[in-house]
C-alpha cells in the first residue's frame, strides 16, 4: 500500500493542475494510494507512523528538496520504502537519484528500482545530500588528526553524494562521506575558487574556534550548531531510484 504525502505549499492554486495530472497518472499505472496533505495542524511523524501501522509499505513525498529532507528524517528509522515526486524542474536530490520531475516521476515509481543508500547524520539529524558551513572558524577533528581552514572566506561542504561534476566523487552507496573545503578568494571579477581540499570520512567532529556557535545547514533546510558529530550511516534508506541515477 502507498501513502502519498503532499507538502503544505502544494495547496497553492498554481499546483492544482499538476497534482490532478500526477494523481491521474498514478491511477493509470495502478499505484494509487492514500493521500495525506501536510499542514500546520498535521504532524508528519504521527502521520507516517499511523500509516505504517495500517500496512503502508511505500511512502511517497511530493514536493521539493525541503519536503524530501523532512520526510527522510521520519522514514529513515522505519522499515518502509521511500519514493519522491519533485514538483520543481531542477531538484538536486531527485537528479542524483535519477528521478525525473513532475508527472514523469510517476513512471519511475512504477518501475520500482529500490536501492539502499547511505545517509549522513549530524548529531541526531539525518541528511541525504549535503551539509554546509559558510565562513565558519571551525576545526574538523578526525580520530588522529585535526584539519583547520586557514582562509577567512571558505565553504565547507559535507557530501553524501555529489550533485555537480566539479565538487566531489561521493557516492551514496560507498559507506563514506566527503568533506570538501573550498576557499573563496575575492578578485575584480568576483569570487575566485582555488584548489579544494577533499577529505573522505566515516565519522568526524566539527567544533568552533570562536565563542559563537557556527551554523551547519543541512539539505538547505535545518540549521544545526557546532559542536557537532557527523557520521555516515551506511545503507540506511530504502529509496526508489531511476535508471539515470548518478551511482551504481
Amino acid at each position: 500500500m502507498y501513502l502519498y504525502i503532499y507538502d503544505s505549499f502544494l495547496s497553492e492554486k498554481k499546483y492544482t493542475d499538476l497534482l490532478i495530472k500526477i494523481e491521474k497518472r498514478l491511477v493509470d499505472l495502478g499505484i494509487k494510494g492514500r493521500i495525506a496533505r501536510l499542514s500546520v495542524l498535521k504532524n508528519l511523524k504521527e502521520l507516517v507512523l499511523d500509516a505504517t501501522k495500517e500496512g503502508v509499505h511505500t511512502i511517497v513525498a511530493i514536493g521539493n528538496s525541503q519536503t524530501f529532507a523532512k520526510v527522510i528524517n521520519v522514514v529513515a528509522d522505519l522499515d518502509v520504502t521511500l519514493g519522491l515526486i519533485p514538483v520543481d524542474n531542477d531538484n538536486p536530490i531527485a537528479k542524483a537519484l535519477g528521478i525525473p520531475p513532475k508527472i514523469l516521476a510517476c513512471d519511475t515509481l512504477a518501475s520500482r528500482i529500490v536501492k539502499k543508500i547511505d545517509l549522513g547524520k549530524i548529531n541526531n539529524h539525518y541528511f541525504i545530500n549535503t551539509a554546509q558551513i559558510v565562513n565558519g572558524d571551525v576545526v574538523i577533528e578526525y580520530n588522529d588528526f585535526k584539519v583547520r581552514p586557514t582562509t577567512d572566506k571558505h565553504l565547507i561542504t559535507l557530501y553524501n553524494f555529489a550533485t555537480n561534476e566539479h565538487s566531489s566523487m561521493s557516492s551514496p552507496v560507498d559507506g563514506i562521506l566527503e568533506a570538501v573545503i573550498t576557499p573563496m578568494k575575492s578578485s575584480v571579477f568576483g569570487h575566485k575558487k582555488i584548489t579544494q581540499t577533499v577529505l573522505p570520512f566515516t565519522k568526524i567532529k566539527i567544533g568552533s574556534n570562536q565563542e559563537d556557535q557556527v551554523a551547519i545547514l543541512t539539505d538547505e533546510q535545518i540549521i544545526m550548531k557546532t559542536p557537532a558529530e557527523i557520521e555516515v550511516v551506511p545503507q540506511k534508506l530504502k529509496i526508489i531510484v531511476g535508471p539515470e541515477r548518478q551511482f551504481v
Binding site: 578526525y142 588522529d144 588528526f145 585535526k146 584539519v147 583547520r148 581552514p149 586557514t150 582562509t151 571558505h154 566523487m169 573545503i181 576557499p183 582555488i194 584548489t195 579544494q196 581540499t197 577533499v198 577529505l199 573522505p200
Partner: protein, 146 residues
C-alpha cells in the same frame, strides 16, 4: 595506478582520494589508504598505502611513509618510500631518505642521509624496516648449500 609526476600534472579526479589544499592546515597522525595530494600544511606524521604527491607550495613537517612519492615542496622529517621516489627541482628536504628507486632533479635540496637498500622496504608499522627480496633469499640458500 600511475605514479604522479610533473609531466603528468594532476592525476585524473577518479584516482584522487584525499586532497589537502593550500588553504588548509592538518595537525596530527594522518593515515590514508588511497592516493594523497598535499598542497597545504601538514604537521605530525604522514602515512599512505598508495601514492603521495607533495606540491610546490606545500609545507610538511612530518615523518613520511608512502608506496610511491613525488615531492616538489618543503619537507622536514624522514621519508620512507617502498617504491619510487621522485624529487623535483623545487623540493627542499631536511631529513633522511630511504627509497628503493629514486630520481632527483637538479636544484633540489636535501640535508640528510639517502639510502637505497637492495631488499624490499616496508612502510607498515611494526614490521622490520627491510625485508630481503626473493632473489636475495634464493642467493643465500644457494650459498648455504655450497
Amino acid at each position: 595506478m600511475a605514479m604522479f609526476n610533473k609531466n603528468q600534472g594532476m592525476p585524473t579526479p577518479k584516482n584522487i582520494e584525499t586532497i589537502i589544499g593550500p588553504s588548509v592546515k592538518v595537525q596530527g597522525d594522518f593515515k590514508g589508504e588511497g592516493d594523497l595530494i598535499i598542497e597545504g600544511i601538514l604537521v605530525g606524521t604522514l602515512q599512505t598505502k598508495n601514492n603521495l604527491k607533495i606540491g610546490e607550495n606545500a609545507v610538511v613537517e612530518a615523518d613520511i611513509k608512502a608506496n610511491n612519492a613525488f615531492i616538489s615542496g618543503k619537507v622536514k622529517g624522514d621519508i620512507t618510500v617502498k617504491g619510487k621516489l621522485e624529487i623535483a627541482g623545487t623540493a627542499m628536504i631536511i631529513g633522511n631518505i630511504r627509497a628503493q628507486i629514486m630520481s632527483m632533479e637538479s636544484g633540489a635540496l636535501i640535508q640528510g642521509q639517502v639510502s637505497m637498500p637492495v631488499g624490499n622496504i616496508s612502510t607498515e608499522e611494526g614490521k622490520p624496516e627491510i625485508k630481503k627480496s626473493h632473489s636475495e633469499n634464493k642467493e643465500e640458500k644457494y650459498l648455504e648449500k655450497n
